[in-house]
């Protein structure tokens, strides 16, 4: 049987393709305006997800309320603060830190879900700025973090937590939390890129984030911890953020007497930690994303 119309020549490809007439389409360079637009569009998409599926917000609504109540009433009955003060007032900044840290996992789960669906392939055939997928996710997750913070704060206020500082100082405390949570979400974006499924992203995320939140001064003062744990806790970014916010909220802050540098300069330490996390994980996430979506 012979096919006159077929020519599958097995000749090697020419070194350089011959002359072409590229189709003229409006060129689209990825200028800042376009990047911002792509980021805006994808942030909007992720915000719509939050709006459409409020049940998936239980991690940042029900869980924070539950944790706040449990820790304050169960731990609070057994913890004596060095230097005195109410555990309730001490604990809310720590609970904010803990809940925001664990809820950063949402970024990993969300990205992993996207990667498992065909929607990323669709994005990749468009002439968009690719990292917008990651930036849009991290920005939308700021809202999730803000919801989480609001639930913890509201629960705290309801059970008697009272900040003792000016409004600007209190707001600065919340801003610091959100910045830190944003930085963590870039770490979690990396996790989302390397995990095979949303479930494994959640599993691995918990294993990393939960100890990070617990081995800190968030829930108990560090002074009675074994020396290794105490050192880790004093240098843990979660401790820095917690300490900074206790200071900014005017709440009991036993860590003020600890000589570790981050405990003496908690606001600066929190800022540096957040910036460092973003500087490391944002480029890494972008690289991992590129690698994950290349075959």
């Amino acid at each position: 049987m012979s096919f006159t119309t077929v020519s599958p020549p097995r000749t090697p490809a020419p070194a350089s393709p011959g002359p072409v007439r590229p189709v003229a389409r409006p060129p689209r360079s990825h200028g800042l305006a376009q990047r911002l637009r792509d980021v805006g569009v994808l942030t909007g998409r992720n915000l719509l997800h939050i709006k459409r599926e409020p049940l998936q917000l239980s991690d940042v609504t029900v869980q924070p309320v539950l944790f706040t109540l449990l820790f304050v009433f169960v731990f609070g009955s057994g913890v004596v603060l060095p230097g005195g003060g109410s555990y309730k007032d001490f604990a809310i900044a720590g609970l904010l830190a803990m809940n925001l840290t664990t809820s950063a996992m949402g970024t990993a789960v969300g990205l992993s879900t996207d990667l498992g669906s065909g929607v990323i392939d669709r994005f990749r055939t468009l002439s968009m700025w690719r990292p917008a997928v990651l930036v849009g996710r991290s920005l939308a997750d700021i809202l999730t973090a803000a919801i989480c913070a609001a639930f913890v704060a509201a629960t705290g206020l309801a059970i008697g937590w009272r900040p003792d500082a000016g409004a600007a100082s209190i707001l600065a405390g919340f801003a610091l939390f959100l910045l830190f949570s944003y930085a963590l979400s870039w770490g979690c974006a990396c996790l989302g890129m390397v995990s095979k499924s949303p479930e494994s992203a959640q599993g691995i995320g918990l294993v990393i984030l939960f100890p990070l939140a617990i081995v800190s001064n968030a829930l108990v003062p560090t002074e009675h911890m074994p020396v290794v744990l105490r050192t880790i806790a004093n240098w843990n970014p979660v401790s820095a953020v917690t300490t900074a916010c206790r200071q900014l909220f005017g709440n009991p802050n036993p860590s003020a007497t600890i000589h570790a540098w981050p405990m003496q300069h908690p606001v600066l330490a929190s800022l540096l930690w957040s910036i460092a996390l973003i500087a490391i994980f944002a480029p890494l996430a972008t690289t991992l994303y590129r690698r994950r979506t290349t075959d």
Partner: protein, 334 residues
């Protein structure tokens, strides 16, 4: 050469030890429809993924709209619309929101994207469903929306990867109408399919690929001509060992016999008066014939002739009583 909108040379791709594409060549002139036909796993999707910049070739090169798919991928993306085999839209958003998002990411201004989305929703009969989330869409609606998503920026080159796989017959015919409408707009289209009738319906030219290679190409008519015209199908009252030999002189290729020996199928070249000749010959050999059928060749026949393997579709729709499926026919070489 200059008016080729899609051009691939010696394109190859392997995944580990699996060779997905083994050096294929494709050429699609501007405004033409190429049907890429092959069974599951033939390499169709891999080819489309490379041409749409989703995947990197291991060897060979390809240009779409004059731009190299590897070195100039961003320019390729500005010129293509893609409807992938798997759903590539956001399940949680509505149809309209999906189109707006993709239009904006494709470079349209907000106002343009909104107008174009509405236009496409109208064109694809999705206006009523426009504000429902995709989870509530039927398979046919999703495919139409996916196609609409590929058309937002009015790209000159379209890739449709198995656009009707999994659709019910009505949705399928409807999808065909939509696709035909596109071509009237002068779009260049590459369409993959496992359905031979689909390629026959829609494509100007067809390439058949199997195991990552192009095994045949041409117009539907040319492909049919390659297997020698019409096909004779006989059903005997009972199996007869010498039946193949009796009709041997009148056929133009191997006679295939079903397992029960009652059904015979063979390609024939000259159909004039052939049926009575064959029946007479069998009669003289003492063989009683229940049914004789002369069929114009379908692309199923082409595919079988090329690959010695039936297509999935031919197996699915075969009716054992009236039409012996290729699967239960054995080749009886003359």
């Amino acid at each position: 050469m200059n008016d080729l909108m899609i051009e691939a040379h010696n394109l190859g791709k392997r995944f580990g030890s699996t060779v997905a594409l083994d050096g294929i060549d494709l050429e699609v002139p501007a405004g033409a429809i190429l049907g890429v036909l092959g069974p599951n796993g033939a390499g169709k999707t891999t080819a489309v993924r490379i041409l749409t910049t989703l995947s990197m070739p291991d060897r060979g090169w390809a240009r779409v709209a004059g731009h190299d798919v590897v070195s100039d991928a961003p320019a390729v993306r500005r010129n293509i619309g893609v409807t992938a085999q798997d759903a590539t839209l956001d399940e949680v958003l509505t149809g309209r929101e999906n189109l707006l998002m993709i239009g904006r990411l494709g470079g349209l201004r907000r106002v343009q994207a909104r107008a174009r989305a509405l236009e496409l929703l109208n064109q694809f009969d999705l206006v009523d469903a426009a504000d429902r989330v995709l989870k509530e869409y039927s398979g046919g609606m999703r495919r139409r929306l996916d196609l609409a998503a590929g058309l937002l920026t009015r790209p000159p080159v379209l890739f449709l990867d198995e656009p009707t796989t999994g659709l019910d017959p009505t949705s399928r015919v409807r999808m065909w109408e939509v696709i035909r409408g596109l071509v009237a707009d002068g779009v260049t289209l590459l369409l993959t399919t496992q359905y031979l009738d689909e390629a026959d319906e829609l494509a100007d030219r067809i390439v058949v690929i199997d195991h990552g290679r192009v095994i045949a190409g041409g117009t539907a008519a040319e492909l049919k001509a390659q297997i020698g015209g019409a096909r004779l199908e006989l059903t005997l009252s009972e199996a007869h060992a010498s039946a193949s030999a009796a009709i041997g002189p009148f056929v133009a290729g191997p006679v295939r016999v079903s397992h029960d020996g009652r059904r015979l199928r063979a390609p024939v070249r000259n159909a004039v008066g052939l049926a009575s000749t064959v029946v007479r010959a069998l009669d003289e050999a003492g063989i009683t014939v229940d049914d004789v059928e002369l069929r114009q060749p379908s692309l199923d026949d082409v595919f079988f002739a090329l690959t010695e393997r039936p297509t999935d579709e031919a197996q699915d729709r075969a009716e054992p009583e009236s039409e012996p499926s290729d699967a239960d026919l054995e080749v009886a070489r003359r």
